[in-house]
Symmetry: C2
Subunit: 580 residues, 2 copies
């Protein structure tokens, strides 16, 4: 196939679009791959659509390879199934809603759990029908509050979503693993650098869950990774290893100190260091953070969280840990109601005496001694020993994670990184099967409730994620598997022999099955070279001054390496590069 630049619907831009901040957005617009139509709505121009279709094909192949079956739902969906699962409400303003001419409510599908569940229920009835995995590659809609970064976070986007249906938890684990393996093959084939991070479940409600993040400075998602192992996780999912318990016997008795003017951890440490003969750090103090939580259908309750004083409670980790319960900070009314809470001087004593649930960071093991509030203004207690002077009701792992913290797998320390979520695999469990009573009739004629998994890949987002990882200051650099063409032939001059040679090469390469872009325009070599770099085809064939001496130049877009190749060998040379 030959695509001629002289007629290709492509106009490259010299300037970055005004609304673009990240490289992929700038370059995909400048190279003529996408155009903005509305906030979060983009059109795909010819080369962009080819990249999208190439990615789609890889995803489809790997899904089919493990027996997933492709189907397709409408994007315009009736309200009723989403009411049955309460998601019509839960999505709030994040979905597009509309009414038809008869006033019936519809939404533009953000994900299709409901429809897949209902469809399987409609077709299948016996345990012999299971397991089954279905998928679609389909346009999805979310009314993002802040669509950004071009196609990286759009309001209309292409997604592969799949759903597994199993009779047993073991079956679900296997389906989950099938997806995990397929995702790894997909992202490997697409040439991405990515990590698989443990994730919390988010709003979808379920258990095991991992995210695939393409590593990118511009990514919206933060995660931590080990300096010495493959460990990576969302901050919400990091687990803190508990240190070994210590002996209680050798600890001094707890003692209350008058500590005037010590409203902060820092001032408290300074005061103690100036007024005692010991040296304390913030890590020796115990901060008791009060929040309130509410389990759906119940009343708000107080909850105290003890963390070492050198760390804050990470509210996102806290929310993830308490889900599905809600959590909120205390307000003045709460303090007024609970007079035993002496702000700034709260300690375990009054909390536990007053029946407040008291959970501690995993570092607070038996035998550790702490400086903490004495439940009395301007007073702190020193050498309050866990397991002797107080015993938490349990542990909660919600303190902030820091660079340098030990990796949970014991190898190396954690560093922070950013990524773009390109895939998410998720054991839904029986939430949707429960909502729609999806049962299979078992061999004993008793109903078996089906368990589900939900798995997504952001197909259109992948175009941006790849561009984000693979570009330089001159333009895009497509991995071969997704490039919109194999070879970009530049006719570098207006001489008729150059034009004829360019045509001839393009024909020969096309005859060998390669996809060729032929720059046959009447533009200057400089303009053509710049466009070739911007467009980012992996291999560039330059037909220029060398031709009279019987050579052409083959340039590798990524490395910049150039080689002179004899005309007679050039086609084989290029075919080898492309197929290697």
């Amino acid at each position: 196939m030959i695509t001629r630049m002289s007629s290709l619907f492509l106009r490259t831009l010299r300037e970055d679009p005004a609304d673009a901040e990240v490289p992929s957005h700038k370059l995909l617009v400048r190279a003529g791959y996408v155009r903005r139509v509305a906030p979060g709505g983009y059109s795909w121009l010819p080369l962009g659509l080819r990249v999208l279709r190439n990615i789609e094909a890889v995803v489809r192949e790997e899904m089919d390879a493990f027996g997933a079956q492709e189907i397709q739902f409408p994007a315009l969906l009736p309200k009723e199934p989403y009411e049955a699962t309460n998601r019509w409400e839960e999505y709030g303003p994040n979905i597009f809603r509309l009414k038809d001419r008869k006033g019936a409510d519809y939404l533009l599908g953000p994900t299709h759990e409901e429809l897949f569940t209902l469809t399987v229920k409609g077709e299948y009835s016996s345990y012999k029908d299971y397991p089954v995995t279905l998928y679609q590659i389909q346009t999805k809609y979310r009314d993002e509050a802040r669509p950004r970064a071009g196609i990286l976070r759009g309001r209309e986007f292409l997604m592969k979503d799949s759903y597994s249906f199993d009779l047993t938890d073991e079956g679900l684990s296997k389906s989950y693993q099938n997806h995990r393996d397929a995702y790894i093959r997909i992202f490997d084939r697409l040439g991405l650098e990515y990590v698989v991070v443990s994730a919390t479940s988010g709003a979808m409600g379920g258990s095991a869950s991992e995210e695939f993040l393409a590593v990118a400075e511009t990514g919206e998602d933060t995660f931590v990774r080990s300096t010495e192992s493959g460990y990576a996780a969302n901050v919400e999912a990091v687990t803190t290893p508990a240190p070994a318990a210590q002996s209680i016997d050798d600890k001094p008795a707890a003692a209350v100190h008058h500590t005037p003017n010590t409203p902060t951890i820092e001032s408290l440490v300074d005061f103690l260091n100036a007024n005692t003969d010991r040296k304390f750090t913030a890590a020796d103090t115990l901060k008791n953070v009060l929040v309130k939580t509410k389990v759906p259908g119940k009343e708000w309750e107080l909850l105290a969280i003890a963390v070492p004083g050198d760390r804050e409670v990470d509210f996102k980790r806290l929310e993830a840990a308490l889900e599905p319960a809600e959590v909120a900070m205390l307000d003045e009314a709460d303090f007024a109601k609970n007079t035993f809470l002496v702000k700034g001087y709260i300690g375990p004593g009054a909390l536990q005496a007053n029946g407040v649930r008291f959970l501690a960071d995993p570092r607070i093991v038996t035998g550790t001694a702490w400086v903490t509030g004495a439940d009395k203004a301007d007073h702190h207690v020193v050498d309050l020993v866990a397991g002797r002077d107080f015993t938490p009701d349990g542990t909660i792992d919600v303190a902030e994670v820091r660079e340098g913290d030990p990796s949970p797998d014991g190898k190396g320390v954690l560093v922070a990184a950013r990524g773009i979520e390109i895939g998410h695999i998720f054991q839904l469990g029986r939430k949707y099967a429960d909502a729609f009573s999806l049962d299979a009739l078992g061999p004993d004629s008793k109903p078996v409730r089906i368990t589900m998994g939900s798995y997504g890949i952001g197909v259109s987002r992948l175009v941006a994620a790849i561009a984000e990882q693979s570009h330089d200051d001159r333009g895009l650099i497509w991995p071969r598997n997704v490039a919109p063409a194999d070879v970009h032939v530049v006719i570098a001059g207006k001489d008729e022999t150059l034009t004829a040679a360019g045509e001839d090469f393009a024909q020969q390469l096309s005859a060998r099955g390669l996809k060729v872009i032929l720059d046959d325009r009447k533009a200057s070599p400089g303009v053509k070279f710049a466009d070739a770099e911007l467009v980012g085809i992996p291999t560039i064939l330059v037909i220029g001054r060398g031709l009279k001496d019987g050579t052409v130049e083959v340039k590798d877009r990524k490395s910049g390496d150039r080689v002179e190749v004899p005309v007679a060998e050039a086609v084989d040379h290029l075919v080898n590069i492309v197929n290697s």
Copy 2:
């Protein structure tokens, strides 16, 4: 590729769905190709999606073959471009409208003229850039008042829409012809029986326009075709050949008759035949039909239309002929205002004396003599001769078209038929270019207004149209180019040798590049045969009792022909059938 019935997400149904009236709807649901999700909204199950993709591939190949370039727009579109062309208003309740979280208005795109025009304007500026043809294969939305017949008229559907952009009318003609040729290739490859009918432009405003109709009794569109030539046209577009003018000299003078109690043509003819020595038929009378018309921005005006008394005025033909003017029947107030209109006895005399525009059917040529109203109650005039006693202000071809009328091309007579609109090609002209000032800078640096064509193919509808044409009472019969598989292998028995042979055949056929459905279920041969007929793969391989004698049976789904083939020859035999 082997698809096993034992795991395929497919359940065939024995009963027609309750809401289905047409064969394609019944069979596509029964055979497990589609499922209803909402009114006019269907999901595609695995085999249905394959058929859809096969059709899509044929459309794409033929579009690419003549240089059309594929792009893709969002389906969710901002209001503004549609306001610029007034279509936001004009579509009325026929489009889906919605607001985003900020209250901005959006629609779900029904067609994309505006977006394509704006995109070309955004990229192109010089006459050297043109011509260009762009297309997309994309999900479209229309809020149909009565979605019906399954995927034949849905509210969400897949459409190929393309748009040509030319500098000149000649260029537009060429782009139009390119599309026409490509459409013929596409519909031929899909094995459809179809006609190309002249069409009126409908609401899109333009000039030359043709529709491709798949011939089907269940079609919504009526058309007429010649019994002896390829002529076919929408009724609105049929032209009536004018007979030769006649001599005036040999006609008797016009004479007014008292014709009491002759309110209808029939009673008038009976009266004259009883009271004169001549024999009249309804075709000898002239019916003067009064309407009023209104050109946008002007006042309502009277219009008289003379047609032979044996024909009615066809209101759809009248609307099409007068477009963009509106047309309406007269009400009592109109008659009260125009006292010269003697209801039931209106003749050309009073009309023309009072300045009413008076247009005549093409059959009313010079020298023809007519019986018509004498502008006086209970009186008619006989032998009123065109060109002697009255001269129309022009002709208008809006009389009803009847079976048996001569074909406009002079060959044979017209018969009525029904069809499904599967394609529409349309010379838009400069309507959209005018709306958005789409100009190219000409060689003389002066702007040249671009002229456009608009071309559509109902891709998802084609699945139904093909099914509508190609089925029998046992099920679907897919043409080879669109079938979801090449060969349906039925293991007709539970014997292990049959199962092993079935597996082996499937593997061998797959290795030869064929797509195979293998019915490896534990169902009875009868159930498997019935499902094979219902699913409609063109070739069925039955592995049954003959196997022990070294033969298998190859059955042609369409003809029902069966041949016994030696096992050793069966694979070659099938490969030949599929590739022939």
